[in-house]
């Protein structure tokens, strides 16, 4: 009886999800309510979690709760810490949730709401969650080894090196693109710049408090810090209204880029307790709070989605970024559906803290579903504003024109009605001088979030506060990714450099610290500068480059997972990882090819470089601008080389894996797994960790 009731309940969830998804897909005409998106996403996640993840856990991986995890075997209270599954879920989610699922779907909204939403749900359930879950499982079985170590042991030593280089490359491009998002959000905005600048002294204050006064008392320090940051958001308005202060905090793109580069260098070199760690605490609290508030706001306001399901830009002529729906919708969404970067977390801290193997399903698969839901909310927030406003904020001035009236005329000619007054009024109501030419996703998401929040609390009166709260929330945790990433990148550079010259690898040697920090900051700083001066807005070049590198890293992770499953003799179910691998290879290779060789200058790096060179040769460029134009040509060619090298690295890894797979399947090589020895657990079956156990 109970079983029948359960079956009926799950059938109802499945039918509701299918109905809502069908409604979203087939709806035409009147605007659609955002509730449909929430219902479709949640029902699909529930069904995927209940059916697909339990199938993977039971059939494919055969998770074993009698087997002790690394947290039990090595419990030292420092690295290996047995942690309650809910707490670990929170840790894991806070680690994987970055700016990607907010920015990616916002940019992908240029195709309309439908393709992005479908990929966020399907891609996460069949790709991203599977990758996170299986890599977590593989790492648990190997004493918490990293993706690079697993690639070296299970695929080949060359595979390990490629994985390490791929991680470094994605890190550089990731840091450049997220820094560009911040620059585009802060330029000509004294309010936002002041608020973000204030987070630095607040973090320093917290750092001193946590280091000298109350070591490790993170909760009280963070709550105090969050209160100060919220006050800084309000104080930003006074700065914006004062002519003298407003001038002092108004910067152009290049100045902001240089300041962020200097900040990244300082954060990598300064002691971690002083700036990096306290900023991260602030960011974790504000990020979690803002994400849950956005979910609550969407459920409370239930906004209408004004963007059509598909726009005319599915043909590849979009103003936000160039490229057709395949493959660029998937490349742009990136982290919200599949993120290669997550495999570093799944093979980093989490496997060293998990209590039981079966919890890998809840933490690995479940946390990624929640991340995908964040992406769906970002899509709703972006699509809840009139399409004309969305395109005005996200299009570069070289395409739509530099004034509100010119932008309105161009965008209206595309069929998305807009008048110049609307943009001027909107900018005034959110306390900005202009909202035009703010490609990068952050300002349009902030407008969407502010409209949802202000409909819940405060109305029009608080729109500007909510807008700057949203900008602060995005910029704060983007800068946290930036400083944490720069520091990790520095370690990677030192590790790789140490192989060539030993003293360079010494982590405490100041010249090596300064040089490696300068190398990593110089690398992402160069791409950032290139993005800031790019006439097409930078995002057009850098975001696809970031998406490609991220999805290539996911390919590395899935190739490693497939190799391990093959060695575990799970041939019958190998499609679970092989199918997303094949899909990602198809997407990334097509995107890489198009970004390098496409004949359209808006899309192809080489054709853009050639078109610019032709303009110089034809004498169409004034002599004063020729040097600048030549730099642009060089940058486009550099982007083509970077894309080509990344694609080549992955093709080599795939070839290495194919050789390995063939040797195993044909019986020429014995399938040797590098799992840690089996140890039976000593914990009682109901042991749930510290949080609700022995405290």
């Amino acid at each position: 009886m109970k079983r029948a009731a359960k079956f009926i309940l799950w059938l109802a969830v499945a039918i509701t999800g299918a109905g809502a998804l069908g409604g979203i897909a087939l709806h035409r005409g009147e605007p659609l309510n955002a509730t449909w998106f929430v219902v479709a996403a949640v029902c699909c996640y529930l069904v995927a979690y209940r059916l697909y993840s339990s199938f993977i856990a039971a059939r494919l991986l055969a998770l074993d709760d009698k087997r002790a995890t690394p947290a039990e075997i090595h419990d030292d209270g420092r690295d290996f810490v047995p942690t309650n599954k809910w707490v670990l879920f929170g840790h894991h989610f806070a680690a994987i949730a970055g700016p990607g699922p907010l920015v990616g779907p916002t940019l992908a909204a240029q195709f309309g709401y439908l393709p992005g939403t479908l990929w966020l749900i399907v891609g996460a359930a069949a790709g991203g969650c599977v990758q996170d879950f299986i890599i977590l499982f593989c790492s648990i079985r190997r004493d918490g080894k990293t993706l690079g170590q697993m690639a070296r042991e299970e695929v080949s030593s060359r595979g390990g090196l490629i994985a390490q280089l791929a991680v470094l490359a994605i890190m550089v491009i990731l840091l450049a693109v997220v820094a560009l998002v911040v620059v585009n959000a802060l330029k000509s905005s004294p309010w936002a710049t002041f608020t973000l600048a204030m987070t630095i002294p607040i973090a320093l204050l917290l750092g001193v408090y946590l280091r000298f006064l109350r070591p490790g008392r993170v909760l009280e320090a963070s709550l105090f810090g969050v209160a100060l940051v919220l006050f800084a958001v309000v104080a930003g308005q006074w700065v914006a209204e004062s002519p003298a202060w407003s001038r002092a905090f108004t910067f152009g793109g290049v100045s902001l880029a240089l300041m962020i580069i200097a900040y990244g260098f300082a954060a990598a070199v300064l002691p971690v307790w002083l700036l990096l760690a306290p900023r991260d605490y602030l960011s974790a609290f504000i990020k979690t709070g803002a994400i849950f508030s956005l979910a609550a706001g969407i459920l409370f306001v239930r906004p209408q989605v004004l963007m059509p399901p598909l726009t005319r830009f599915i043909d590849g002529t979009g103003p936000v970024f160039a490229g057709k729906i395949f493959p660029f919708c998937f490349i742009t969404i990136a982290c919200g559906a599949v993120s290669g970067f997550h495999s570093l977390i799944s093979s980093g801290t989490t496997p060293k803290m998990i209590l039981r193997e079966t919890q890998a399903r809840f933490i690995g698969y479940g946390a990624m579903l929640l991340e995908s839901f964040v992406g769906v909310m970002a899509m709703v927030a972006a699509c809840a504003m009139p399409p004309g406003v969305y395109f005005a904020i996200n299009s570069p001035s070289s395409i739509v024109g530099g004034t509100a009236d010119a932008a309105a005329a161009t965008i209206s000619s595309w069929g998305y009605q807009l008048d110049g007054q609307t943009m001027t009024r909107l900018a005034q109501s959110v306390g900005e001088q202009t909202l035009l030419n703010r490609a990068g996703g952050a300002p349009s998401l902030a407008v969407g979030m502010a409209q949802i929040f202000s409909s819940t609390i405060g109305g029009e009166r608080l729109l500007s506060i909510w807008y700057h709260f949203a900008i602060m929330f995005e910029a704060l945790f983007i800068l946290t990714v930036l400083d944490a990433g720069t520091r990790v990148g520095r370690f990677m550079v030192q590790e790789l450099g140490g192989r060539v010259w030993k003293p360079f690898g010494r982590m405490g040697w100041m010249p090596a610290i300064l040089l490696s920090s300068a190398i990593i900051v110089g690398a992402w700083g160069y791409f950032l500068y290139q993005g800031v001066v790019d006439p097409l807005g930078g995002i057009n070049s850098l975001w696809p480059l970031f998406g490609i590198s991220n999805q290539l890293l996911a390919t590395v992770a899935l190739v490693v997972a497939t190799t391990i499953l093959l060695k575990m003799k799970r041939l019958r179910w190998i499609w679970v990882t092989l199918a997303p691998t094949v899909w990602l290879v198809a997407v990334t290779m097509t995107a890489s090819y198009q970004k390098i060789f496409d004949p359209s200058p808006a899309l192809g790096f080489l054709s853009n470089a050639n078109a610019l060179a032709a303009r110089i040769a034809a004498g169409q460029i004034p002599p004063a601008k020729i040097a600048e134009m030549q730099r642009l040509i060089f940058n486009q060619r550099l982007d083509a080389v970077v894309t080509g090298v990344l694609a080549l690295m992955i093709l080599i890894l795939i070839a290495e894996a194919l050789v390995q797979w063939y040797a195993i399947l044909s019986g020429r090589r014995e399938a040797v797994l590098h799992e840690a020895p089996y140890v039976e657990t000593r914990w009682a079956a109901d042991f749930t960790g510290v949080a609700d156990g022995d405290d």
Partner: protein, 66 residues
């Protein structure tokens, strides 16, 4: 009614202890209870030493994603 109050109090306590553990507030208490490695001279780290060691280790590997 009493049962409901007990459940509510227990839930709040669990949430509070989970929150402290999530943000790292109770990491040192957890370390003192752990049976594993200590420092080379056989003593446990002080709260200050532990805090520094913990954050230095945490921020030397990928711990924040895109």
């Amino acid at each position: 009614m009493q049962r409901a109050a007990r459940i509510a109090i227990r839930s709040v306590r669990r949430f509070w202890s989970g929150l402290r553990e999530w943000c790292g507030d109770s990491a040192y208490e957890r370390y003192l209870r752990a049976s594993g490695r200590q420092v080379a001279d056989g003593r446990k780290l002080s709260a200050k030493e532990f805090y520094l060691e913990q954050i230095n280790r945490r921020y030397s590997r990928p711990n924040r994603c895109c």
